[in-house]
Subunit: 457 residues, 4 copies
């Protein structure tokens, strides 16, 4: 059965699909079986000769995915069938090696270790795309640090800001995501080794039978090293923090990218049109309306951001798993993990493309900023006039003046000057009415974000 992403704009066409399809999972599980054999051979638990046969047989092409799915139905996980298929393949290569496949092991060690492997691979790709996104946003923040635009709160123009601050805010979020991703990717993805119920007993038993000195605890370290994963302090069949930590990363990354996309969607509305998505042949086309250029990258990021937290919720709720292995909670982790990783990988790729190619229209920003006349700086005028007229009177005067002269800063300045005989000059008032002059700490905010970016990179 195929799933090419035709129902998943969140990741279709971004290359995230094959990273996590059945073949990728089979390959990862086989990698784990090989790593286990290698580790056991190093410790003298199985003969070196068996490793070569196992490694040669451990190729996805030798495993029938339909047999695995049937096996899932029979045993509730794919490993029993996988081990059967792999053992058959090994036997065909080296009869004696077959008995060393999956020695002392259990389904959960294979699946959890494979999941961690895939997390590492996918998160590393996401890291690259977040890095590219961050670099593009840093450039936008720097270039537009003094490009004034309207800040909007609850959909309404509030006060001026700059597009540099906007981009710096996006950047800050992306760096938050990058930071949390790296922390988990680098230290939070342990190999899983516990045996049937987390005591490592069969691994120890086979070690003892083989007269191998080192205990299974060091097996765990050697095995993790083979996989390039963190060595687990304890078997974690019943302690699902690694999945939860990945869930948190998925939520944070999809959240910060979703914020970026949400703003792009607003700013590219026909009536606002302050930014536009990068043009590309065919992109954003409509089946019915030839003139349309839809903000599809932002849409696809937004749709990912809606779906990732519910997938992560399943991972979080699966922490509550009774017994040494639960009947249902463990099994609920795999598909949401795949979905979550895929959507985040797709969103990060799309975000990098979006940030890289975002078109910015400073003229339109200025035009929009002028729409409300002086109202967009009324916070400033209030601050300035209140000491002169009193809070209530200044508010009343301001409201009246805006109603009459809003839209023409010149007229407004004169009207206000007339209201406060010994007050600010028309000149002062004109300055105060210039949105570009009321962007607060915009420059410092951009500088801080850029500094953080440099330190992160």
């Amino acid at each position: 059965m195929s799933d090419n992403g035709i129902l998943s704009p969140a990741w279709a066409g971004t290359g995230a699909g094959p990273l996590l399809d059945d073949t990728a999972w089979v390959r990862a599980m086989l990698d784990v079986e090989v790593a286990l054999a290698r580790a056991q051979a190093k410790l003298g638990v199985i003969p070196d000769s068996a490793v070569a046969a196992i490694a040669a047989a451990a190729v996805p092409g030798r495993i029938d995915p339909v047999a695995l799915a049937d096996g899932v139905h029979a045993t509730a996980n794919p490993v029993v069938a996988l081990v059967g298929e792999l053992t058959g393949a090994v036997r065909a290569i080296d009869r004696d090696a077959a008995e060393y496949v999956h020695r002392g092991s259990t389904s959960q060690d294979i699946i959890d270790s494979a999941a961690m492997l895939l997390c590492r691979r996918v998160l590393t790709r996401v890291e690259t795309d977040l890095g590219r996104t961050a670099t593009a946003l840093a450039r936008l923040a720097d270039v537009h640090r003094r490009t004034p635009m309207a800040a909007r709160t609850l959909t309404q123009h509030a006060v001026p800001t700059t597009f540099g601050v906007k981009a710096a805010t996006w950047l800050h979020g992306v760096l938050d995501g990058l930071d949390r991703l790296r922390r988990v990717r680098d230290a939070g993805l342990p190999a899983s080794l516990g045996g049937a119920a987390g005591t490592l007993a069969a691994y120890d038993e086979y070690a003892a039978m083989a007269g191998a000195g080192p205990d299974a605890t060091s097996l765990s370290d050697v095995f993790a090293a083979e996989l390039g994963l963190a060595a687990p302090l304890l078997p974690w069949h019943g302690v699902r923090t690694p999945y939860a930590d990945v869930a948190a990363v998925l939520c944070v990354v999809s959240g910060v990218l979703g914020k970026f996309a949400a703003d792009v969607l607003v700013l590219s509305r026909t009536e606002i049109a302050e930014v536009a998505e990068p043009a590309a042949a065919g992109r954003g086309a409509s089946s019915a309306m030839p003139q349309k250029r839809n903000p599809v990258l932002a849409t696809m990021i937004a749709t990912a951001a809606r779906q990732v937290p519910p997938a992560a919720l399943v991972l979080y709720q699966s922490m509550v798993a009774e017994d040494e292995r639960s009947s249902g909670a463990w099994h609920a982790e795999w598909q949401p993990l795949r979905d979550g990783l895929r959507m985040v990988a797709g969103a990060a790729r799309n975000a990098a493309d979006l940030a890289d190619g975002l078109t910015v229209d400073p003229a339109r920003m200025r035009a929009n900023l002028a729409m409300t006349g002086g109202a967009v700086v009324s916070e400033r005028l209030s601050a300035r006039l209140a000491p002169l007229l009193g809070k209530q009177s200044s508010k009343k005067a301001l409201t009246a003046a805006l109603a009459r002269h809003g839209g023409s800063p010149g007229d407004l300045a004169e009207a206000l000057a007339a209201l406060v005989p010994d007050g600010p000059s028309v000149e002062d008032l004109r300055n105060w009415l210039d949105p570009a002059g009321y962007t607060g700490a915009a420059d410092r905010i951009v500088d801080r974000a850029l500094r953080r970016h440099r330190e992160t990179a």
Copy 2:
């Protein structure tokens, strides 16, 4: 990219996969395109001759799924590319017919109608499996209407019940699910026809250009009839109740099946062992422990029940969709709908197999019921003794007697008789201490559930 369900015990191996894979969706979307052409031909909007070519070309094998996925990335939905592929295939058959493909239509009409088609198909299969489950549970309820067992609340033995009541309760839930499923399947799945933004303008325009009399509103009725779906009162691009209604069905069905599975999991625990899953070669096998027979059907149902509500949540949240078509909410509906339907279809099939083959052990039920001595009927003893001794004294006496003689109903009866000189006879007390005599309205409850079952079937 393949997804054979190796990460989805919720539906792997149940036949639910191919019902909703890419091919199934492409076929459904093509069915919709053909139905649209047929309806337009009937109303004289397009020539009859075009229909044959469109129908002939509308075969999944003619559509490249990878092209669709690329199209999703370019336009955020698969229809633009699908129409391109289909048009090419039609042109190869009948050059003139090509221009009548997807006439006046829009992506959302195609996807939403296809989704409703698939909902109908899948829900009909689920109906069959729920029916089979209900029949099996009705039989269990009837056969075991007087098989006493411990009712458990907050994990502790509470009072006696019968396994018939237990099965009747499961049955009642399954009939609730069946009822809600049918209501939505029969009346709640409308075809979608709105055109670019829900005004039907292009459909009308083409009708006018063709000199066709009937307006596009009747197109909507004819189109729905072609698909065997309900005729929509209005275009529903912006009114997502049909998806929400399906979400509710998915949640209710997975919930009632999850309840069944949760009880089976408890009752088949090694220490309880009152029921067991149907045996089948290889089913429930463990990769490490040859003796184990895991309750895999119940586990697979339970894992579905954990994941369906979060998928439904996405559907519910997607109702909040700005504009005539939203940028992200609409796109978030497809994959969770697929996932939810698949998991519910898998769970219903597994539940039918589980109910059909469930092994019940009345002897073990009796043995467990006896574990707490008379404590399991202490509610009854309290009721009986309180009028004689007063509430406080009877409670104290009961507690003391249980502590000393709990486990032996005979001794307990005599001890209690001694405590209340002019009270109940030892004979009476023995009767009261018989758990099988304190099962309340068990019979009537079973009867009512069976009557409902007969009326539903």
Copy 3:
């Protein structure tokens, strides 16, 4: 501890708070205890004399809420303590009556029945507010059936529509919500009567001890009638469909109102300004920016719509409850039910106020519609020109003409006429370029929605 809604814009100040606060729940639970006593007296299980005392004592003021909360901590539910408090209050009135309090009953019967009572009360208020919302939207749909505006898809102008269609779409959604609400309110809210573990044993036992003829099944009917709730077919301790049905109503209602709010938020953006919220003193004020009038009603509805589905999710997931009463799932239903009902009640009230007072600006709609020149009717032009020029050529011509003459329909008409010598007249082209002439089935759509509204009311 107080919760006045200061963290809950979703319902603060709408009157929904006191409907569901601790006092309301205590009152509902007391109503249930009184109804049980009345039903038992009617059937001769307890003396009539006891009822008067129980009814007199069953007043929230006699129950200490802090004692209840402590009782919750001791027993995981408030009923054990409530019964203690109530029994004390009854004893103070009539010593003999005290023993008839809560006779044969169990915590779950009280809480579930009380919850259903509150659902009925709150849903009835929601019904009224949805009715008011529908009436206001029907008026808007009728008045503005020919007020043209831009339909927007993926944030971009797509084709023309009318504000009447927009309002009709909102109305259609609200009527969907109303329909589902009524179905559940009228038939889906059963009283709960099961006794300790769903067998009704203690109710039967006390009936037998009193020599009362009728069995406890009829107690269930009489009890339900006392409460004005549906009579349950079976005890439903383990069949949580009633909560799930309410969950579905909460999701659908918050979804359709959230859609309305989402559109209002877009349309009231400073740059779009096609609608505005009803003005009221202080409403929408900002602490920092005197000029702002924030769309607070829509914001408060939107925030409810974000939170209701996650609350409903908990209800759905609580269907999976092991045993005759689960340890955790049942207990997870109460607060999400309260939250969900409160937020929906708040949202419905706010929606009624919003719909009632919505200000519509047809001039601004026209101005926005003109922003893209003829592009907003390019779908129509494509349909008209393709037969004359061929699909590719007409698309190319159209794109070129729009690029040069977009914004001036007159120039555009002439340019297009020049491109197609024997084609449409300038007159025809002008007509085609009039957005108001390309609103499709707007009138019929409005009519259908209004008819449905009349039939529903």
Copy 4:
């Protein structure tokens, strides 16, 4: 309106209620207003004299919570009304000071900073309770490191483990929670200072008007120091990572405690009875069944664990917030944050009590372990016999022997010895059949967990 937790077993009676009720939030918001005034006075923006009056007036008792709720309805947040109330209270003390209240500030700065304050306070209490839980679990792990019991997977006995490993696993989870909590509590809770739209413009403006040198960026540092919160690098109105980080902590802590509770619930089942909750007068009482002692602490933790992730989901989804302040997403954060913190604080307190007083029954563990005869060590027997008999034959022999002699290790040993003439001695077989001898790395696992505990404390 009161909420004493009568619907919230997750936290009722644990002291978590008042930490987060309306009074606590009002106090925190007032603390923030005072801190802002202090910081501005330090930088010369407002006169020192104003601070005393503001601090004196900033007392929850001076604020009418109903006025705040009305204010929420008018403005969608409580700060506009709070500032009004506070200003009135200040004016009553010192007329001149009133104008310095909330100077240059905005609602979001107050609410977000107050939320972070409350997070810090609550998480610190949670830390203490997790510490107490960890200490109790460490003791259990140490004492029971060699207390054998059955490990269960998919509800069935799998292989032996020890209760020490079980407790070590719980401990490992609790330490994971503690670790993540501390990281966020110590570095992840920034004060919020951004002004109307995240540019700090009004703070700067007032600073300029007061001739105060230091810029508003240092205001942010001084303000944070006053509150004892982390200094924000940037205004974070649009970067909701702090809430997301708290969400992750809530999920992880509730997850690891939920795992502990889930196991206690299984192990305290009537039929299993290996552990029991600490006894306390009235705790675990049933309203109907005098004999019951319900595992209420575990139930209350379990119910929290079901509800926390959905609350966290709302926080995660609220990261996607359009504009400089969104219309709905921001407003959706407050109540779920309160709920999530309260439930986690309740769960941690209950978990500490549960761990502290947990009763362990090693004899029952041994008895349960013996239930399946030698089957619980069949993994070991397979490993030992396979080299002698071959995999298939040994499996068959084992299955046959277990069927005949399961339950009596002595008979089983002899039967197996007979099957393998030159194989293991009866002595060896008896050893292999002793569950206590097949607990793998139990000791090392416990040691590692205890070492981690010592290093964490």
